[in-house]
Each structure stands twice: as C-alpha cells, then as structure tokens.
Symmetry: C2
Subunit: 138 residues, 2 copies
C-alpha cells in the first residue's frame, strides 16, 4: 500500500507487522471480508491468532461457509475514539481455506465465540499482506 493510500494523511504512523500481530493477538472480535458478485461483504466474527494466521469458527451451513471455502479474504480490526479522534487499524489480506480437524490448535487456542450455535467449521485466513496504521493525537 502506498503512502498516498493513507486514509489519514497526517499524524499517522504506519505499523510494522510485529505490532499488527500484537494487536491481533490482543483482541477477540474482528471483521472478515470477502467478495461476492455484488461486491464486498464485511461481517464481525470472533477469531484467534494461530501461528500468524487468523482462525475463525463458523456454521458449516452458512453462506459465510460457502463463500470462504477457498477464496481471497481479508480480516480487519480497529479501535477509534470519538473524543480524542485517535485510533488504529490493522488489515490482513490473504486467502481463506477450510481447516481440517487434525490441523487445529488445542481448544484453548481456538476462537471463543460469544454466542451459542453450531459452529463446527474452522476457516483459516493465511496472510499475504499485513498492514496497519495508528492515528496519533495532534
């Protein structure tokens, strides 16, 4: 991503991959995004960071499951504060693929979903590119 793509051209610091991964490791909800024939879809999901990949757990019968079978997908995470007008954002661009049970981490390291439901399908988003930015106070 070029410097001219910054959405906040000033008071902005690019984040390194290590800092992006640290932010990803410290949170539990983010946005998974994929493209269908009508454009991008962006939906919140619980996730876990698994060896540098984003692991999510969804219903095997959902449209999300159908769309994330093997496709380019992104994962986005952010926090902004209306009062201080500061915040940060991380974008993981990569590819989504189903994960076999044998390839899953132990229970503790899997995503912990916040609501009940039959979410037995795990999908891994393997990053091709990780970028992030922090908007600093003036």
């Amino acid at each position: 991503m070029n410097s001219d793509e910054r959405w906040f051209p000033s008071h902005l610091r690019e984040l390194g991959t290590a800092e992006c991964l640290k932010l990803l490791a410290a949170h539990q909800v983010g946005m998974v995004a994929y493209c269908d024939d009508q454009g991008p879809v962006v939906l919140p999901v619980n996730y876990a960071l698994d060896h540098g990949c984003v692991l999510i757990q969804i219903s095997p019968h959902s449209t999300l499951a159908r769309c994330l079978r093997a496709t380019p997908a992104s994962f986005q995470l952010d926090e902004f504060d209306d009062y201080t007008r500061t915040g940060w954002s991380v974008l993981v661009r990569g590819d989504a693929a189903y994960v076999e049970s044998a390839d899953l981490p132990t229970d503790d390291d899997r995503p912990h979903t916040w609501a009940e439901g039959q979410r037995t399908l795990h999908v891994r988003i393997t990053p091709r590119d990780i970028s992030g930015r922090r908007l600093l106070p003036v």
Copy 2:
C-alpha cells in the same frame, strides 16, 4: 441475508433499516470496503450520513479514489464490548460514485475528517441493502 448467515446464531436480534440508519447517523468513523483483483480491501474513514447515503471525503490522488470511482462498495460500522460480549454491527451494501460539488450538502453536513490533508474528493455510497444485528446479553 438468510438467518443462517448470522455470525452470532443466538441472543441475536436483526436490526431494521431505521435503527441501522440511526446508528450510522450517530457515529463518525466506519469502514469502507471495495474489491480489487486480490480480494476485499477494508479501510477506516470518517463519514457523514447524507439523505440515507454514506458520504466520505478522500484524497483525489489516492488508490482509494481510483478504486471507488464507480464500483460496488460496502460500508460497515460496529461496536463490541469484550467484557459483556455484546455489541452491534451495521452493513451497507451499495455502489460508490464520485459526487460533484453542486450535489454536496452544506459544510456542516459533510464528513469531518480527523486528520489534516488534501481530501477534496467526495464519494457517495448509495445503499442497495442495509442490514444490522445486535448481540444481546445472555
């Protein structure tokens, strides 16, 4: 969107369009999403709600400007609380297009960007579909 697409299958309430628009009207930062040849891109932007459309203000020389010239685009907004494990999310799916100066609302009703920079290009995302969900406490 079908009920099986719900990311939180339980304790979840679908939001009506009016409530989605109310949430959109009450916030200042959201995520604009578009698709390029490598999949979805999701970036934070300041925005304003203008007659039911999402209005953003960006640099005319940015990749974002090039990609949002006339394309399917989405706008996403959410708030989640790690402690209570509750929150809400709104997704606007629609089409992005440049806005001529003559079609802009008055200054007060334009997006107020949080950082300095030359953002003279306005883009309007006209909704085709607005959906939202609220995750309620158990």
